[in-house]
């Protein structure tokens, strides 16, 4: 036995729960499931036209609490648009109109990092070139700042999970915290400019942890000097409040909502069992905020049905509300919401939304109707909320395969022509490359037969869409039993695997237990990928995790422990089955499947070829670092610079790294206080390039939290 083997063997003993934390997860942050039909869906088809007047009446009932005038228009297959007082009703024509308002000039500056994804196209790309593969090893910490908004869960405040992208715009660095404060910092020094504290409720109303993914910024096209709230910063809270403050002073904007606060829960009128948690900052475009929400889809069957709101950026007045679920199903299901970030083509004015699965997550016997917009990527007209096209990525989702990441928009070169494309990552591991104007696949999507459910009452879809090109981010088949874990457990892993159902991807949950690969953790997660728009190279991190899905008949189900997003027992409302979710570990807590547990890969979108795929990060358990060849489960996202670098935190080992775009080789790494599960901001301020990470941790990876903001640059 070599020293390396000995190291691995010993490391394995201590590895224990490590991936355990990582895996089960995400059902929380994800929230819901999907419908069945498939394929591209043209907007305003006959079915959507049908019953328009009925829909109007019914949807008005939904908005019972609202005193606003509204009109409802069916859109897309099963979707509806409810036009608010500040909005403009869809034309109702058979063909959805395409807005063409053009980009906001203030957002298109190359030095800034003005949105959650760096820009509206979710490219996560900076044209900055000062820091290069040749000099990145000289990168040093310039400053660090601690927000003070952190909780390890040991007191009255739930554990904090902080995934905020810092925004750099208006010569200021803006951060939202998991306690829902806004902090404005001087970018070069980290000195505090101002803070805003809404005194938000710090309770786990929908999520098990206090979560926040940052703030959004808007400014008027022609800001008037000396006039307040010409530039605004927004933050949402878990209890559905959206705050708007002046970007220069931090003072609440009186014209926004009521004295700076908009209660979004006023529109939560159907199955309103919990508030519409505003953890993801809105997407800002053309003086409008596009706002989704998060909830939970594992406790109830009927839950708030998925909606996206378009709000006037100055006043918060509602322009329109998009409803993702058909009216006739919402008594028995819900969610199919948009809890992750969106992307937007500023040239065409199309908004791309990743829609999650309907509730409950893992049993669909109560919702067998077609819900074509669930677990889909859907393009909306930003002016009217109409569906322009939609593509369902999982039919009748019973795996919690929410569409979780924003599609990345990029023009790719094919046959000498530039094609407007988008890349939609997914939990199931596929990268769907579509024409973003039509939704048609650029690389083939094939409907293939998949295993049937053997659970009474369940009607799993007979086929599901598969993608071969680009190569999926994880293998087609589950990795198989790890010999090491099997030896350590005296054969427990292999014995357990033999008793589980597994017939490939999309094997339905079962009573005996189903190997889910990938499970609810993905594959890819909410961070999505990054792209170099010049070369068409797309980079994405991913997870290789195995979980066991087990349905439990209602009369046998007991609500035992539930560790939030990491596994346990989920009631699934009053459906015929409860659910048990567990990560496939042995008695020692070692993963029963073969590593690597996390990788990062690069793809040439022009050809669909995968350029490289390497283990990324290191697992850390009890302080011990596991071998690099095992990789790490990751949460977060890479960003790319024109100089050929990838910056990413994301891994369990509390390190941030710079990688070579050409090879994936780690060129620089730096220890931070916890896993940096946010995406970094790369920007240029006063002629100098900076990289800033918000370091917050995530209980899915490790019970390690922080409130650190840390910025790096080259020495002067």
């Amino acid at each position: 036995m070599t020293r390396h083997h000995m190291t691995i063997l010993t490391a394995s003993f201590v590895l224990a729960g490590l991936v355990g934390y990582a895996q089960a997860q995400e059902n929380g942050s994800s929230e819901e499931e999907g419908g069945q039909p498939q394929g591209i869906t043209e907007t305003q088809d006959e079915s959507s036209e049908q019953g328009a007047s009925d829909d109007e009446a019914q949807t008005d009932e939904e908005d019972v609490a609202s005193t606003e005038e509204s009109s409802v228009t069916p859109t897309g297959p099963g979707g509806r648009v409810d036009t608010g007082p500040a909005g403009e009703a869809p034309s109702g024509d058979d063909q959805a109109s395409l807005p063409r308002p053009g980009p906001d000039a203030w957002m298109e500056t190359p030095d800034s990092w003005g949105t959650f994804n760096g820009d509206l196209r979710a490219q996560k790309y900076s044209p900055a070139e000062q820091i290069t593969p040749e000099n990145v090893s000289e990168l040093e910490q310039v400053w660090e700042y601690h927000t003070g908004d952190v909780s390890d869960g040991s007191d009255n405040i739930p554990m904090s999970v902080w995934s905020a992208t810092p925004l750099f715009i208006n010569d200021t660095l803006y951060l939202g915290t998991p306690f829902y404060r806004i902090i404005a910092l001087e970018p070069g020094s980290g000195e505090e400019k101002w803070t805003f504290d809404p005194d938000a409720r710090l309770e786990a109303l929908t999520q098990p942890n206090m979560k926040n993914r940052g703030v959004a910024y808007w400014q008027a096209d022609d800001p008037q000097e000396g006039e307040a709230c010409q530039k605004m910063v927004y933050i949402g809270t878990m209890d559905a409040k959206l705050y708007g403050v002046d970007a220069d002073t931090g003072e609440a904007c009186a014209d926004f909502g009521e004295d700076g606060m908009l209660d979004v829960n006023q529109w939560n009128t159907v199955n309103d069992k919990w508030p519409l948690s505003l953890l993801q900052p809105p997407t800002v475009y053309n003086d409008t905020l596009f706002l989704g929400w998060a909830g939970k889809d594992w406790t109830d069957a009927a839950a708030p049905p998925g909606t996206v709101f378009a709000l006037d950026a100055r006043t918060g007045e509602r322009k329109w509300t998009f409803h993702a679920l058909p009216e006739e199903v919402i008594e028995r299901t819900g969610t199919a919401n948009v809890w992750a970030s969106m992307s937007l083509d500023p040239e065409t004015g199309l908004l791309y939304i990743p829609i999650s699965s309907p509730s409950p997550n893992y049993y669909g016997g109560n919702r067998t109707e077609e819900m074509p917009l669930a677990t889909s990527v859907t393009a909306l007209n930003t002016e009217t909320g109409e569906v322009v096209w939609s593509r369902q990525l999982v039919h009748h989702d019973i795996w919690d395969y929410d569409t979780v990441a924003p599609p990345t928009l990029v023009d790719i070169q094919q046959d000498g022509e530039s094609v407007p494309a988008l890349v939609q990552p997914s939990k199931q591991g596929f990268l769907y490359v579509l024409n973003r104007e039509t939704g048609e696949p650029i690389y083939p999507i094939e409907e293939r037969e998949v295993p049937r459910s053997d659970v009474e009452g369940e009607e799993a879809a007979p086929t599901q869409p598969f993608v071969d090109t680009p190569e999926p981010v994880i293998p087609d088949e589950w990795p198989g039993v790890s010999k090491l874990a099997d030896i350590v457990s005296f054969g427990e892993c292999s014995r357990k695997a033999e008793g589980l159902r597994y017939e490939g991807l999309f094997t339905p949950p079962s009573l005996e237990g189903t190997i889910a690969y990938p499970p609810t953790t993905g594959g890819s997660q909410w961070g999505g990928g990054a792209v170099d728009p010049e070369s068409g190279v797309f980079v994405i991190n991913s997870n290789s995790v195995v979980q066991i899905y087990r349905l439990i008949p209602r009369d046998e189900f007991e609500q035992l422990e539930q560790s939030g997003e990491t596994g346990g027992y989920y009631a699934q409302g009053d459906t015929d089955y409860g659910f048990h979710l567990e990560t496939f570990l042995n008695w020692a807590g070692m993963p029963c499947w073969k590593p690597p547990y996390g990788t990062i890969a690069a793809y040439d979108l022009n050809t669909g070829e995968r350029l490289w795929n390497v283990p990324f990060g290191q697992v850390q358990k009890h302080g011990f670092y596991m071998p690099e060849s095992w990789g790490s489960v990751t949460i977060g996202s890479p960003v790319i610079t024109r100089s050929g670098l990838i910056f990413i935190g994301a891994s369990m080992d509390s390190r941030v790294r710079a990688l070579d775009m050409e090879s994936g080789e780690v060129l620089w790494k730096h220890l931070v206080d916890a896993p940096a599960v946010s995406m970094p901001a790369v920007y240029t301020y006063e002629g100098k390039q900076y990289v800033t990470f918000a370091v917050g941790g995530n209980s899915i990876l490790l019970p390690k939290v922080s409130d650190q903001v840390v910025t790096f640059a080259l020495p002067d």
Partner: protein
């Protein structure tokens, strides 16, 4: 075991020195926040193991009355401690500690081949004392 029954136990002293340095490094690793491993079970483990190592090295350096079996057992346990701590240090990426374990292993080897054997030396001395009384 040792080939120098009358000499200075350089190996044991070197082991003691490296153990003390290792213990200090383990303390720093355990309580120095921001190193990525502080306050983890892994650092508590090396703190405990280096404490044992220091005790073992002290016994090896200064106790002359141990029987052959006990002395051999002590030397064996020290070897296990060195190897185990080295592995833990490797996995903790505590390079200073790992280097000290390397030095400790060299010291252990020196002790094995060159240091006076404490148990044997003690009995030889006793016999000589008995013969001259």
């Amino acid at each position: 075991m040792a080939s120098n029954p009358q000499g200075t136990p350089y190996g044991a002293w070197l082991l003691l020195a490296s153990s003390i340095i290792a213990w200090i490094l383990a303390v720093v690793a355990t309580f120095n926040e921001g190193n990525g491993i502080a306050y983890t079970p892994g650092t508590y483990l090396v703190l405990f193991s280096t404490t044992l190592l220091v005790i073992g090295a002290l016994l090896l350096s200064f106790v002359r009355g141990m029987g052959r079996g006990l002395s051999g057992l002590l030397v064996f346990l020290i070897l296990l401690d060195l190897l185990g701590t080295a592995l833990a240090a490797y996995l903790l990426e505590a390079n200073g500690l790992l280097i000290m374990m390397g030095v400790g292993l060299v010291a252990w080897l020196i002790h094995l081949v060159a240091d006076p054997a404490s148990g044997k030396h003690h009995r030889t001395t006793q016999r000589k004392e008995a013969a001259t009384s």
